[in-house]
Symmetry: D3
Subunit: 256 residues, 6 copies
């Protein structure tokens, strides 16, 4: 089975850099996969990606060697298992708030006897190798998103879920969840209470022996997150990168 | 009929800034259309765009008010007319090398008696307005690409073609066409002989009372082209903007 | 943020006319959006529309100014939130039968602290404006479909759900739900017991200070519904309009 | 081989009624195919249909028994042959202006030794039957569109082309071609000179022993065309039928 | 209403042969539908098929007369009802483990008063006939997949569910569920304990007066299953058939 | 630049085995690419593949290392160049009948000064490497199909075309072209006159120092062609492999 590059990096003590795809297009996926990321996540929650185009994006990234993951729309067995059968090497699941939800998530990602994933690796058998069924549970990563007050309260029981690899922090939702409309929405929080919350989750996760991931809007914040010890950092996404670069380019012509 | 923003800008003595879409995706088109370009061209020649996705891109840009154009794959009546019926407000046609080809191009873009465009504005009737048939020949722009030695030789006869609005210079092909493999491929030429050739075409065009457009890889070069007097400058494209911004962002995280 | 035309009409004491899209096609959406409806709902329940084409339909309708809504397939957080992030200004949710289901629906539609909608307005940020996050909870409409005996019994508790804007009556299901197979299936009920049921729901809704919407098969019935006081009426759908007009046209040629 | 219903009707002395698809969607094709037309033409010239969706439309109409035809974008061998291999039972080709163009058209539609169609009936072999190769040249219809002054002048030489089944009149283009901008654009001409031109083409065609077809915007005009003796009449199209029915329906609600 | 061929075969004492589609493509569906199967199931669980392409596959198979079924991704009302409205004549639902889940499945498949299926047969009304609503509950087949230890334990209560037509055995998951990782994954079990389990389910099903179906990887095993008395056998799938035939063909050339 | 595996095989004195894709689907392409072929050709002439799906097929095959080629619909510069920019490493062009057509074909495939290919390797730059522009003319294969009497007559002048790599024989068309309807249509000719014609083309090609390719329906015939000395043999295609395997499998169950 083609190995999971994130796990390889971690096994050598490294930290992984993750790209993020919100545009539903195999070519943008192929372009992004050549830019130096270790892993790339297709966002089927807030991204414009549905299952059918998402599958072509997994195909388009296969040659690059980048490890593909999928953020599923919700804690839904059909969505999780279809993403895995299509080739995802990791699942990022939004809004996991307690141990019961974390256990359900793991049960969708792992084959029996660990979980209840149904067997039928239709495409991934070709993309990952014919021995996929034997190794999938060792290679596939399973991340619970921590992004509500309830999740923060239950962080230790969530982290105690067997089969879970770690947590993924969504700072925009976490800020809404912990502080309501007190602050602006978005990533790259600078409020001390939010930084504290983020570091608290990181510490609990490491104490539990699991991996912590942070979603970031900028390279600068991602670099800080790496310094804090995050195991994987996501840096921006295709929509922001494209819009930002295009706007900067038009503005520059108008200024010059 | 919704007016052509490029023609409005020109009528006030202005110069237009054009974006470029090589990714086949309505969402990238919608994103790009919000970044401040005056016009945006869908590249159906070298871009990955075919007719069916190209049409959804025209739909996705409609609300923005940006004037949409299409670069067709080749001097082909079916391709030109389908692009127009789908909503293109301008046609950029590659590799126009002489007066006969320029005349054929115009004949595909203009309705009788000027040309031979077939009548059936199926989608553009909704997007541009029910009076499209009456005003199309006044609003639609028709550009011949000048990108071979033959075209440069025949530049004056090409510019004399009734119904042609102007020329569009493709510097990568023009360099190949004029100098073979002497220089690197690509845009933003710095070789004196290429700058001279580009300025020569610009001058001939203005002398003929037509409009000159230049394809550019960077905002800096586009700004120079505006100084030289180009009427429309294209600045980079979606592929380069996305790839460049993503690579810069990953590199930055790794460096920090 | 681009305002919700339905709310504008209501704030002036008016009633809204809604179109209905069951065909999965951006061009039919664009055509329908130019015919004079105030709002148009994409039917992702019984319509042939899935998420990916549904998104292109939202793009194709954007320029028209018609307010787009989505009927989701079921009370599913992933489906509701993806529709909103893609640009829906209203959610119509089938088969809401009690207060608990209505509360879940609202929680999917509203951001914290009102609900639990996850933050990530990927496309709607472009289509509605960059201030979408601040105003979405005020502009987005949330409708519970009342179409079972259980729902009618629980109508008052459903209507008491904070954050709910109103109810949407599906007469075909309501008739099945209240009377089994006693009557023909379909809209535009003429049975006194069904008219009574419909008017009862309308009155309860208005008593609760909320808005009532009715699905209609014909302009005539929609006009009656407006007289009864419905706040929004849906008139036919694209499938019936196309099939009906085509059949009438063929029949006429054969008769003439 | 599944027989061509148009030829069956003609062999019994009947006249055929043809529907017209300008919307790129298999479901609209399937709906239209159930409304009573004898044949339905997918418009790949002015319609929004490209090759890939066009093929799904042919699939969606197969069960109905309606004879499918394709109007190709232009006199292009690739486009003609791909349409046939995908299942078209008739080709309508725009802008055939002289005998040479008519001969090229026939050569693309007929297998050797009559023409030069390349052999590879990939899909049509399943849809029409395994004996397609033997009978195709007898069942496939080949129509030249007559829609310019040049074509009218050359009508007799066009009609003398071996392998051509008949002509198809496009009244919008024919009016532009014969009279320039003298009259409004569109179908259903009432100007005596246009009616005369149309009848002239009809008579020449019948004199040559071939079939004449007319494009019509309304059932009324199609009925007149049948009285004049046209062998096939097209009645409106999906775009007009949908837009017209929707507008009428909204207007009615507002009036009532 | 177009009758269900499986039910017709069963009513005459026959056994049905089912094909299986895991490739998301209307043309592979059309090809498969011409190869002699009685029924064909589109696999939306482990297959690469999503809703939008799945619908075009149903359209492409309509002309063949093969009875189309859908395996849904999971026990989800939206997925079940959308498959039925799109034209499925049978639902195969994975991982039904107890009576409560079986009852929910039936409630999604049957109209009131038997179940809670929402009324809106948008496409199937065209494909099956305008009387679909009256006969659907008699023609549509509803199968619960038995593939876990829990399901085997609860087999009798599952079989007692009113409205259920039978069970469908997934041998790969059943083996994982009953024996963990003791044996290789896959179909066509030869282990005595698995054969016993399969026959046990078959006997319970027939005792309950319902129908039993088995998924098979090879024609040989399917033939054995028919001898055992299975009412419907699935034979391989499109992916395996294509991959196997291609590999055999390449290997043969290399050997010869 | 990723090297062309066919050229590597030839440079070592080997013969290449080519697969053939007529189904428009990235997953069938990905499956086929794992079955042991050296090269795989996407058939955009008789296959159901258009440009947009064709591009996703190229993406889906990239990881396999199989060399992708495209058979274009016709000798059309737009089609040839779009296929190359999308990633094709070889062009197979139908119906090349004389030196002039062969020269036009080469001019579309090669960059100046050899030909007139326009520069813009939008996707292939990612798939083949950033040095694509420098090496493309050395790696890309250009094949003229020989399939008419005229082509056979002109074989030597065709083979004398600078920049042409070889010829590709289409036996179905060649048989029609040389013998009309005398024999059955299809591949794997057994008639002495056809075998002689095929061997004649092979010998002329080798005498000219170019490469000869043959399209075959079966592994047996492909093996014979290798013995005759063909440099590349195509073995069957996805449609026949799938249909054949499915039919054999159903028939076997019915027989057993
Ligand atoms: Mg979140
Ligand atoms: Mg160029
Ligand atoms: Mg309902
Ligand atoms: Mg015309
Ligand atoms: Mg299973
Ligand atoms: Mg051929």
């Amino acid at each position: 089975m083609v190995p999971n590059r994130i796990k390889q990096i971690w096994s050598k003590g490294g930290q992984a850099i993750n790209g993020w795809l919100s545009i539903a297009c195999p070519f943008t996926a192929e372009i992004m996969a050549e830019q130096g990321y270790d892993a790339i996540t297709i966002d089927m929650q807030h991204g414009l990606v549905g299952y059918e185009v998402g599958t072509t994006m997994l195909q388009a990234m296969r040659a690059s060697g980048v490890t593909p993951m999928v953020r599923v729309p919700w804690l839904d067995p059909g969505a999780v298992m279809k993403a895995l059968d299509a080739g995802a090497y990791g699942i990022v699941c939004p809004m996991i708030n307690n141990a019961e939800e974390a256990a359900r998530l793991v049960s969708y990602v792992r084959y029996p006897p660990t979980g209840n994933r149904s067997f039928g690796p239709t495409r991934v058998n070709f993309a990952a190798g014919a021995d996929y069924g034997q190794h999938a549970d060792d290679e596939i990563l399973c991340f619970a998103m921590i992004e509500t007050a309830e999740a923060v309260e239950n962080i230790d029981e969530i982290l105690a879920t067997p089969g879970l690899d770690g947590v993924y922090i969504g700072p925009a939702d976490l800020t809404l969840g912990l502080t309501g409309r007190k602050y602006r929405t978005g990533f790259d929080r600078e409020e001390p209470e939010m930084i504290e919350a983020i570091k608290h989750i990181l510490q609990c996760t490491h104490k539990a022996g699991l991996r912590a991931c942070l979603h970031n809007g900028s390279a600068e914040y991602a670099a800080r997150a790496l310094e804090w010890g995050f195991d994987l950092v996501t840096v921006s996404n295709d929509v922001r990168l494209l819009a930002g670069a295009a706007k900067a380019s038009v503005d520059k012509v108008r200024e010059l």
